[in-house]
């Protein structure tokens, strides 16, 4: 959003003076150089993803060629057809979608509540300092040793192989992050706005819902995206918690392409990886504009 403002300011400040025009044409030239660099950077960034799709649309035989096939022609949809006809894929997709939705929903609500507490109320936690510290420490905890304790805890509560059990772990790990992202946001919205609405006869709650919440859109989007990515991509906890085949999430399902008793199906893995990424990409493209704004508040005002 703000980048558009950037561009429009540039237009309005352009004065008709001759010197400026000359400067602008030099600027335009420079702009093309920058755009060229951007094209190059885009190609570098995106190439591995292109290569994945190229492999996904090939057969295994074509993949194992001494001369790499640079374009997926002829297009082979064998791998995709195989996956889409596989019940295990749909089951994993449903499971991943379920867990992810719950985690996003709960993490954003919890994060939102706590963010309101730290930025709207006067009490010990005022200021983002402690929250940032919490975020950082949570990120520092070596998760690789915690698996055992987390497993034993869920086991004791009878929550193994349940969506609830896995979701609890995911929410706990991501929620400090969502608080941090949302806090910057709520902080940035002047409380006076709410107060003005209240003077106009709204209740505190109504004022919040009508005035503050809509302004929080980008923040909520950003927090959701972070939670989504975490729940969608996590592998190790899912591995030990969800042991029944019907409970497998997508990252677990993806592992079924490599087996010790048959050849690794590279084309299948690539097609599976492509399919796993598709929902995320769609989501990202939908929320793209708001995401940029969300990052801003979270990062800058952190």
């Amino acid at each position: 959003m703000s980048s558009e403002t950037y561009a429009s300011t540039a237009v309005t400040t352009a004065a008709p003076a001759q010197a400026k025009v000359r400067k602008r044409s030099r600027g335009a030239q420079q702009q093309w150089i920058w755009n060229g660099v951007a094209v190059l950077a885009t190609l570098v960034m995106i190439f591995p993803i292109y290569w994945m799709m190229n492999a996904a649309f090939s057969t295994n035989k074509e993949l194992f060629s001494r001369t790499p096939r640079l374009f997926p022609a002829p297009l082979s949809v064998e791998s995709f057809a195989g996956i889409l006809a596989d019940r295990a894929f749909w089951s994993a997709l449903t499971m991943s979608a379920g867990v992810t939705l719950i985690v996003v929903f709960v993490a954003v609500i919890f994060g939102f509540l706590a963010a309101v507490a730290v930025s709207r109320f006067r009490f010990r936690f005022r200021g983002g300092g402690l929250i940032i510290l919490l975020v950082l420490i949570v990120q520092m905890i070596p998760a690789e040793a915690l698996f055992i304790s987390q497993f034993r805890m869920l086991d004791g509560w009878g929550l193994l192989n349940t969506v609830a059990g896995l979701s609890i772990l995911y929410v706990g790990m991501i929620v400090p992050f969502t608080v941090w992202l949302l806090r910057g946001f709520i902080h940035g919205i002047p409380a006076e706005l709410e107060e003005a609405a209240m003077i106009d006869g709204c209740s505190r709650t109504a004022a919040f819902f009508h005035v503050t919440l809509p302004l929080l859109g980008p923040g909520i989007v950003t927090a959701s995206v972070f939670s989504f990515l975490h729940a969608w991509n996590e592998y190790t906890l899912a591995l030990i918690v969800m042991t029944r085949p019907g409970n497998a999430t997508l990252p677990l399902w993806l592992q079924s392409f490599s087996s010790e008793l048959s050849a690794t199906d590279w084309a299948g893995i690539m097609a599976g990886a492509t399919l796993i990424s598709v929902p995320v990409v769609i989501l990202f493209l939908i929320v793209q504009g708001r995401l940029a704004g969300g990052m801003m508040a979270g990062a800058v005002k952190g």
Partner: protein, 320 residues
Amino acid sequence: MGTTLADADLVLNAPPRPRRRRRRGALAPYLLVAPLIAAVMVALGWPLIQQFLMSFQKFGMAQQFGAEPEWIGLGNYIEILGNPTMWLVFARSVVFCAVCASLSMLLGGLLAILLTKLSNWARIMLQVSLLLVWATPVLVTMVIWQWLFDARYGLINWVLSHIGLTGMAGFPWTSTPMGVFTIAGITVIWGSLPLIVFMIYSALTQVSREVLEAAELDGAGPLMRFWEVTLPLITPAIMIVGLLQIVWDLRVFTQLYVLQQAGVSVDETNLLGTYIFRLGIGQGQYGSASALATVVLLLTLLLTWPYIARMFAQQKGSSA
């Protein structure tokens, strides 16, 4: 360290601004943070406490299957701190982290600046490509890059051997520690660029145009303007992203674990994440692994503390 902690606390307890005079339910804020605290306590706090207790026990596979654990006091800690392998792995992790974090911050910063200089179409194109990278799960990333680096069927060796480096045809990247660290480094940097770019770019767009123009009128050149005006304004964002990057890169796990399974010496490629995992789940020495995890957490805190303290100090400065 104690004093900096107190400083940070001071910031947190900064005096309320006058407009917050209204009386509110004293309980309400606590109720609002309760779910956060509960979630973190359940998912991390409780297991952390268990892990901490376990670090004072001789807790192996037999204990996992019901045998009574034996309390051995600081035994696990003494063993770990006296183990040169642990320090070697720690040092290796710090170097790996330093290289990856600084390279990705540098590249990320450059890309973010580039984003501010682009036409609309080019900016959106680059942003979308970054989003695609961000959306790619780590496991998938590893599959792709391993395939790119495959000795015989991979694109990278093919390209290298066709631009004159004929010795690179069939080069077995995944069987040498340097090759493995190269692939791991590239995947880590590639994967962390999107977040860095977006955060720094967001900060850059916040820099007011007027201030920059004022600086230009004062005769400041582009470099000077960046150095004197832009950089100080985006420093808080850079600090936070950088800190997250350091913390994440210090405990890289998945990338390396996947690559180790391709068949390289585990001893020569272990980083902290894989070292803890192999000691714990791999070898069933949960007591030692717990102690190691505690040590690593403390070392990480110690290593990053100056940075964190500076960040708090800066916040204090900017809010004053």
